[in-house]
Symmetry: C2
Subunit: 453 residues, 2 copies
């Protein structure tokens, strides 16, 4: 071989601003609505929960937003992240495609989540907030926020979905190592938790309700979210900007960009800077969003106003949804088990700028295992869905005899998910089917709101 395997940047090449793609698309035709009044949401509606700087970013018309020096300094602990050319994988797949992956697993928390966690911690600290509270499922977001709070001198309180709290003690230990406090949800610390005590295994919806209740009730405490919202997707665009600079070093430009989608933030992170290029320069780049077949929000959901949480406390957001109280089967990609998706991403899917693909989990793990054996890195179950989609594209390139250039976001490693690999290797992993009847029933319970066009 003796060819380049990794494209590295130095610290001076960390992006100096975030890419605010929604600004390119003009004022949103469907603004978020207040859950009671159904009127467009104002900043004052969000002020009890979020730092004002983040609320401003959420609706900013500026195409770029400068990264504060303190956040850039925090990024230096792990950024710039490497871009790999997957030469061994290309060989194993015997494909003419050129496969590149941006590896976000080098962050201390092992995923892309700290990109927004450190930004959210910084702005909250700057506004005098003393504590951040959030929910976490498998623990990736909770651990990233604990790390960020530690770096900026904030307290951190995490409501962790009960079943994950019991099954993933190591993610919990990670949060505590960074001095965060973890509660098993439902807890007896909140009214929401006490009211759901009989649902002992918990759910993301209940955990959100608990975190929001704590934040709303305390003067110096705010709530934070790890995906879905505009400002979260915004912070992740350091990924795609670095990837563009690194692809330039490689002398190539992607024909296809692939990411997995749970709430949409890692996909937005890699894709939005390249989508801006497509829009402004008339490029032909294709964008593929890979979601679990067991939670097929983009491929099977309806485009409608819905709540972001299960119990209906959040604003109504215009998005593809399976219904806010739809409960997806317990696939191992815990980070992708969400009934909705980022409104900004949903709008792009609606317009046909992003194509969605549904991936069964055994097929995702089969691809992840081949990836690990070729490239060494063991992927988290979430990006395994992107890897399956990359394999399909590489196969299509081979059939077409094309040197297709594929870029994907390897958003995290699987060190805390080895039980899932064990299950796959033992032949015990199954494809979980979602219930069409339950989805239909959940969709019948969508809140009353204006129809989307």
């Amino acid at each position: 071989m003796s060819e380049t395997t990794k494209y590295l940047l130095d610290e001076s090449q960390i992006p100096t601003s975030w890419v605010n793609l929604p600004a390119d698309l003009g004022p949103p035709p469907h603004p978020p609505l207040h859950p009671q009044t159904k009127e467009p949401l104002g900043p004052e509606d969000l002020a009890p929960l979020f730092a004002m700087a983040l609320i401003e970013q959420e609706v900013s018309p500026e195409p770029e937003i400068e990264i504060p020096e303190e956040v850039a300094d925090a990024y230096k602990l792990w950024r710039p992240t490497p871009l790999h050319r997957a030469r061994r994988l290309e060989q194993a797949l015997d494909t003419p495609a050129h496969i590149y992956y941006k590896y976000e697993g080098v962050s201390p928390a092992g995923s892309h989540k700290p990109n927004t966690a450190v930004a959210q911690a910084f702005y909250n600290k700057q506004e005098g907030v003393g504590k951040l509270v959030t929910e976490t499922g498998a623990g990736q977001w909770g651990s990233a926020l604990a790390l960020a709070c530690q770096m900026f001198g904030l307290e951190c309180e995490v409501f962790m979905v009960g079943v994950s709290y019991d099954q993933k003690p190591y993610r919990r230990a990670m949060i505590e190592t960074w001095d965060g406090t973890v509660h098993r949800s439902p807890s007896d610390l909140t009214e929401a938790g006490r009211s759901q005590a009989e649902h002992s295994s918990g759910s993301l919806g209940i955990a959100i309700s608990e975190a929001v209740e704590i934040a709303a009730g305390a003067e110096d405490t705010k709530y934070t979210l790890g995906s879905v919202l505009n400002h979260v997707c915004l912070h992740q665009t350091v990924i795609g900007q670095e990837a563009i600079a690194q692809m330039e070093l490689a002398g190539e430009y992607p024909d296809v960009v692939v990411g997995c989608v749970g709430g949409g933030s890692n996909f937005a992170g890699i894709a939005y800077p390249l989508l801006r290029r497509r829009l402004s320069e008339g490029l032909e780049t294709r964008f593929l969003a890979a979601e679990p077949a067991a939670c097929p929000t983009l491929t099977r959901g309806v485009f409608a106003y819905d709540f972001g949480d299960t119990v209906g406390m959040t604003p109504l957001m215009p998005m593809y949804t399976l219904g806010h109280d739809f409960v997806p089967p317990p696939v191992h990609a815990g980070g992708l088990r969400y009934h909705g998706d980022a409104p900004s991403l949903c709008a792009l899917v609606k317009e046909g700028l992003v194509e969605a693909r549904a991936v069964p989990q055994t097929s995702a793990f089969e691809a992840a295992l081949r990836f690990a054996r070729a490239e060494g890195i063991i992927p988290a179950p979430e990006p395994a869905h992107a890897i399956r989609t990359v394999f399909d594209e590489a196969e299509a390139a081979k059939e077409a005899g094309e040197e297709r250039v594929i870029l994907f976001n390897l958003c995290g490693h699987g060190h805390f998910d080895m039980a899932a690999y064990s299950a796959y290797l033992a032949g015990e992993l199954e494809d979980l089917e979602f219930s069409e009847a339950e989805m239909d029933a959940a969709l019948a319970r969508l809140p009353e709101a204006p129809a989307l066009t």
Copy 2:
């Protein structure tokens, strides 16, 4: 801040040769001896177990040995590794010392072990070997070898100490993800294993015996070792060579170099290239080897010929030893629980070129936790011992009012050791004392051999 945090090299700066420090020191005064004849060992004695290229490296008089292109290509999957300036830690410790760490946890296996695993796999493959067999305790070496075998198309068979096999299913899953086969040791696959069936929890000594038996009895199968031997330490010197280039970028040179010691290979990796400089350029650099107080080979052992394994199958090696059948208490730093140390390192300690420090495990974890909270990265229990020693040096620098430059090897992350962090955080981690009486008894059982001077 806005100052540099990481010093990165690009792939063209991966070292092109390994540093063979023993060649600088001349022919060893105390060669390894055949376990039966007590005569100096010849290459033919090792040929049934090791690839000939590795046996040649073991006794090579060449000061530098070229890295084959195929090995350099394998290194590119994760090398060069970053050198960090620990600015946040310096601030937290309020020390005038400048603290740098070389981070080897970015390898796919999460430690420095793949540096030698890929080299050993390559040379064996080149000599027509079909399968490599080894033992592993906590699983760091076994997983690194599985990765390397996968990269070079070799089969890999790992005998894993029974108690670790039961307690660390995730390291086991990692080996299997890379297509390695793992046996619980003692197994019923070997005579050695069957004879030790009553010691069901196993030991490294038994696992070595099983692996050696398999390798000695099969035509196309060789044995491999993850530390102690000259050729293993040799392959790790990519670490120190990169660190020297990165310290040059930082415009500094270390006053003190620190590494933890189990068998000695990660310490040799960072230290030997800098030791060569000290010897050839008359520098004042100090070298500190940190070992567990519960397994104090360098600080409490005797300098004598002893077996490398528990049951007495290996050659006699001149080293500090606690006695080949001394059983250290079960500290969490499983990679440091070895009765002896690399003969090359022991000779340097004997000559006063390297100072040894014994670190109690609670004190190591206390330092690791502070490190994780300042720098983000969660260290493995083994380098936690080095970190404690760094803290002591930083404190001494503060007392002396000196801008001391400290470099240490952060040889791996702790993602598979979070149970130990949980125990520490819960106040359940204790300092384990070794038994002086048991050590004395083990030392009384040293094999008959010439005295070392």
